[in-house]
């Protein structure tokens, strides 16, 4: 990890309340792995005070891309930033997804399950899986049509994509776990692994389905953070080990689903 001062190349609203930001940094481009995150200082003022963690959405030659939703003061400040401005970033942080789980059963697809802006780090993962010639099946769930992100981009990668919305305004009506259940029961094309990112309730349900069908599953978690590097112990998640807690920033954000106490 490094603390870098990186220039913003683009910061564009791609759907209502969702922004894609492109940041120039050859260091971050060179060292980031899918599932890792960065801590961004969204303002030079003392409010918002702490950095905000963002999963790395893409790596490009010149740097990285973030995909974020405006949910509070930090992301609101970030959305106001203009190309040419400099951003203070610490990264890459965290462990990242274990791609080995997909590559050990190469003929079978990897399933990516995204809820809302949980799609952000999964797209970077999809690009890496494609590079390794692994078949990708992506399930994207959201509240409604406007919350479904990156469908086109996944399709361009050659991924099979299924969309679900809570209100039925796009794709299948209902939860993203419904098509997951279908995919897991198709014996012939059972996935080698599930990678998921999204709200905790969704991850819990995905983890349960994965467990009952015996498919390895990795989840990327979110928690309030201060330091992002393992110093403050501010971002615990309950795990089934003697230590009771692991830290999302340093031990995660990606965990084996079976390790978590949901």
């Amino acid at each position: 990890m490094k603390q870098v001062q990186a220039k913003i190349l683009k910061n564009k609203e791609i759907a209502k309340g969702f922004y894609r930001m492109r940041i120039a940094s050859s260091y971050l481009a060179g060292y980031s792995r899918p599932g890792q995150f960065v801590e961004v200082r969204c303002s030079q003022e003392t409010d918002p005070l702490l950095r905000r963690p963002f999963g790395i959405h893409r790596v490009i030659d010149a740097g990285i891309e973030l995909l974020y939703e405006v949910v509070g003061r930090g992301t609101d400040a970030l959305s106001q930033k203009k190309p040419g401005e400099t951003l203070d970033i610490i990264g890459p942080l965290g462990n990242g997804f274990d791609l080995g789980l997909a590559t050990c059963a190469r003929q079978r697809p990897a399933i990516l399950v995204a809820g809302g802006n949980g799609v952000a780090p999964l797209f970077f993962l999809a690009e890496e899986l494609k590079r390794k010639s692994i078949k990708i099946h992506v399930l994207i769930g959201g509240r409604s049509k406007g919350h479904i992100l990156c469908e086109k981009e996944f399709k361009k990668l050659g991924a099979k994509a299924v969309i679900t919305t809570d209100d039925g305004s796009k794709g299948l009506k209902g939860l993203v776990t419904n098509p997951l259940l279908t995919a897991l029961s198709a014996a012939a094309s059972r996935p080698s692994v599930i990678y998921a990112c999204g709200p905790t309730g969704m991850l819990k349900a995905v983890s349960r389905l994965a467990y009952s069908s015996g498919v390895p599953c990795q989840v990327s978690l979110e928690e309030h953070m201060a330091c992002g590097v393992g110093v403050c112990l501010g971002c615990p998640v309950k795990v089934k080990t003697d230590s009771r807690y692991k830290m999302v920033c340093k031990d995660g954000p990606v965990f084996d689903a079976g390790e978590i106490i949901w």
Binding site: K2, R41, P48, A226, K250
Partner: protein, 303 residues
């Protein structure tokens, strides 16, 4: 060249800037020059491992941060075996923060740590707002007698310089500071976080899993500063000021009010370069003002 060195009892610091307990770990070695610091303070350790409080443990408030970590740590034995070797390479003095359930535990921690090389001083955490102390009621540093008892017990167990870390949640902090001084503390550290809370009006739940926590960050600086000033004329031992310092101006304010040194905590999370910048900028400020020694500004408030 301005002489930035200060003394905290027998602890000699090349400059007055320290990191605060719970906000520094060897991980930061990758991001800033740790050796440039006056001292580093490691996260509080207890005799036995503690799991800490349930999540969420962090919430942000206006120019402040709430935490309810709850002294999560793996205990003394693990600290000596696994944690200390990771910081042994640090050239800046290493201060270890300790907390116990009673006098015996504090004394035992002090005794065991005295026998360990590379530790320059102990910080006695008498004031974590996020834990219940087994046999002690409330926060230790809310009671001058209990504070005195604990500091005395630690004093008789070690020759290391002792820093007593006090809570701001009291009617008159100078009474507690005087008690710590009388019991043999080499310095008092003012202040730990302010007991506080935040509420989510959508879920109607507290924003912290532990319901309440400790407030730190720029929001608390004026209150912490006043406490340093309150204590400065009441004790003869050095005061270390802490609470919301984000730049050299804040640090100088604390020193003018009587602090011999300062600790920087939350600001390290916002920008790990903060302690280094504060040291450089203090030097520039003093040079500009024509001082030869930083000691000359301590308590220099024209009040």
């Amino acid at each position: 060249m301005v002489d930035l060195s200060v003394n905290i009892g027998r602890l000699k610091l090349k400059n007055p800037v320290m990191t605060a307990s719970g906000t520094f770990g060897p991980e930061y070695g990758e991001l800033f020059d740790v050796n440039a610091l006056g001292a580093v303070v490691l996260k509080t350790i207890t005799l036995e491992a503690r799991v800490g409080n349930p999540p969420p443990r962090i919430a942000e408030t206006f120019s402040g941060m709430l935490n309810s970590i709850g002294l999560e740590n793996k205990g003394l034995d693990d600290f000596i075996k696994n944690k200390l070797p990771k910081v042994k390479g640090i050239k800046a003095p290493i201060v270890v923060s300790i907390a116990g359930n009673n006098e015996r535990e504090y004394a035992l921690l002090a005794k065991r740590l005295s026998a360990v090389a590379k530790i320059s001083a102990l910080e006695i955490n008498l004031s974590c707002p996020n834990v219940r102390h087994g046999t002690l009621a409330g926060l230790i540093a809310q009671d001058p007698d209990v504070t005195g008892r604990i500091v005395r017990a630690v004093r008789s167990s070690t020759r290391l310089p002792l820093i007593a870390k006090l809570t701001p949640n009291v009617t008159d902090i100078s009474v507690i500071a005087a008690s710590a001084e009388k019991a043999g503390a080499d310095a008092v550290l003012l202040v730990n976080t302010f007991p506080a809370m935040a509420v989510d009006i959508e879920t109607k739940k507290p924003k912290l899993g532990n319901i309440t926590g400790g407030l730190s960050g720029p929001a608390i600086k004026p209150i912490a500063l006043k406490m340093v000033w309150d204590v400065y004329n009441k004790v003869d031992i050095p005061i270390i000021g802490s609470g919301g310092i984000i730049n050299y101006k804040d640090a100088i304010e604390f020193m003018l009010c009587g602090a011999t040194a300062v600790q920087i905590g939350t600001a390290v999370f916002t920008d790990p370069r903060t302690p280094g910048c504060v040291i450089k900028d203090i030097r520039r400020y003093l040079e500009h003002a024509g001082y030869r020694r930083i000691k000359d500004i301590i308590g220099g408030l024209k009040a």
